[in-house]
């Protein structure tokens, strides 16, 4: 059974009586362990789609099954718990807490997890090691480079061992070298640890690091194909 399945998903934003159709009936499914890129020009609805898939927003019509359960069947509290336990988020703008150490930033999802606080340090360190940032645990975000910030954000997404990681333009704010490094980390997480990764991007180059690309345009799926020549980089994580 697929981890994520959407059928005829639509999303209409109502703003001052003006209706904007962001999604016009999207259907696809994603299996556990896949590395999928969702591609499209800006305004295509790809971010809206990611927000709905990540329980950050609700769709207008259609069906969305996460892990076999319909999204409407979840209360707000349950959605918060699913975001915490089964989903990890990586944002274009990193969204690290300022004036807060790398270690504390990575611990943040654990705070809402109900896990005994004695285990937090160990779990956070494991995630930080996975992205190779253990030499910076006491630094604050302002002291880190963009690529380092994004690696911390990835560690934060990993800390609760989620079923799926949503990455919203993770390389958008990075130079190409740092971006390349981030893509390597994501590939490694997918291949070595079996994390399902759903990546949003508008760059073909970035998208071709995935196994599969779903093309979105004007709120509709325009294409869905396997990547023939997947871009690979030397393994970054030890």
């Amino acid at each position: 059974m697929s981890l994520i399945q959407v059928k005829d998903l639509t999303k209409i934003f109502c703003d001052d009586e003006v209706e904007t159709r962001a999604l016009a009936g999207v259907s696809f499914s994603i299996n556990e362990g896949e590395f999928v890129a969702i591609m499209g020009p800006s305004g295509s609805g790809k971010s809206t789609l990611l927000h709905i898939l990540g329980f950050l927003d609700k769709h207008t019509s259609g069906e969305y099954y996460f892990d076999g359960k319909k999204s409407e069947d979840h209360s707000d509290e349950e959605m918060a718990r699913l975001r915490n336990k089964k989903m990890g988020f990586i944002f274009q703008a990193f969204n690290l807490l300022p004036r807060t150490s790398v270690l504390e930033n990575v611990k943040l999802p654990l705070v809402y997890s109900g896990i005994n606080s004695k285990l937090w340090d160990e779990m956070a360190m494991k995630a930080i090691r996975a992205v190779g940032m253990e030499h910076r645990i006491n630094h604050e975000p302002a002291q880190l480079s963009g690529g380092e910030k994004q690696r911390v954000a990835i560690a934060r997404a990993l800390v609760n061992a989620p079923r799926v990681i949503f990455a919203d333009e993770p390389t958008g704010n990075l130079d190409s070298k740092s971006g390349q490094m981030i893509m390597e980390v994501l590939q490694q997480l997918n291949e070595a640890k079996g994390h399902t990764i759903i990546l949003i991007t508008h760059e073909t180059y970035t998208a071709e690091h995935a196994e599969r690309i779903i093309y979105i345009k004007d709120g509709l799926v325009e294409g869905d194909k396997k990547v023939d020549k997947r871009l690979k980089a030397d393994s970054f994580i030890k």
Binding site: D76, E77, A80, R81, N84, Y112, R156
Partner: protein, 412 residues
Amino acid sequence: MTFTYFLKTAIAGLKTNRSRSALTILGIVIGITAIMLVMSLGQGAQNLILGEIQGIGAKTIAIAPGQQPTGLSSALATFADSLKNRDLTLLQNKANVPYAAKIMPLVFGSEIAAYGNNTYRPTIYGATDFFAQIYDIYPEQGRLFTEDEVKSYADVAVIGSKMKDKLFGNDEALNQKIKIKGRNFRVVGILGKKGQSAFVNFDDAAIVPYTTAQQYIFGIKYFNRMIVEADSEANIDKTVQDIKITLRNSHNITEAAKDDFFVETQAQAMAMVSTITSVLTYFLAAVAAISLIVGGVGIMNIMLVSVTERTREIGLRKSLGATYRDILTQFLMEAVTLTATGGIIGIALGSLWSFIISLVLTKVLGLNWEFTFPLMAAALGVGVAAVIGLVFGLYPARQAAKKSPMEALRYE
């Protein structure tokens, strides 16, 4: 989310804007300081007054002429002339008031006293030698006048320290003659400097036998007060009843409502004083509490700013799994941490100030003032501060918790 984490996050959040946090809690600090000060000083004043009254003796019963004053309009009635010599004789009869140990009539007024070219206007008390025991004030030099001198309308006086200074300066006053209403009074005793005692300042008083005062100084045939001491505290109520019955018989009064005198015990006086001072204290504390509300509004204002500023943080926390309740608790915790800190600082400042004031009152003004730490007010202060944090923090915290994670993340 654990409590300690909440607290740490709240403190870290507040430390980020140190000066803003400090200014925000200033309103709470001022409010709690004011309440502490009022409560502490109120308690001190009450203790002081009660101590003075207690000094007169718990077994003392005062009889005043006129009706019991119930308001300002009846104050004039206090000067009625209903207590006569006949009443004194009746009260002194053991058959009428068996448990009365001592009875002292009292007349008072103000007259000019002269020695040589010096004049002074003391309060003149006509009493018996028993006054010294009641007011716990004895001559430092010389002696009290005797029972025989009272009976024989003797022209003798015991004078206060200030009066002595004004009339005699550094000269010897004992056995000198002072002139009051054309009569020469021999100074037989000089009181020590005592200051204010039981609302009577004996420093500028002259005490003479009541017989002489009635006959030659004031020219009256009644008493302003009669002071009765019961033989034991257990017999106070009984004695009060006996006095009332005796005086009603003497004045041909049949109903208690028509009494032309009233009887007051020290217990009643103390109860009245504590009621008045307590009411005053609580009233002033309530006025001070208004500043707490102003402080609370300040907190709400700053919290709202903080919520807006941290919209992205709220969105992030929600996307990482924080629930409505988690965010609500986080922001409430910040508000309560602010106000509770203000409360604790306020208690410290309030105590410090009341301690300083008590030192000033004791050392400089010579009052027998005792510093009291109002534990009740302190507990109340912290409680009120925390509640204010909860009440005024709730609205901003709800605004924060209601934010949709996606909207909050998009916020620039």
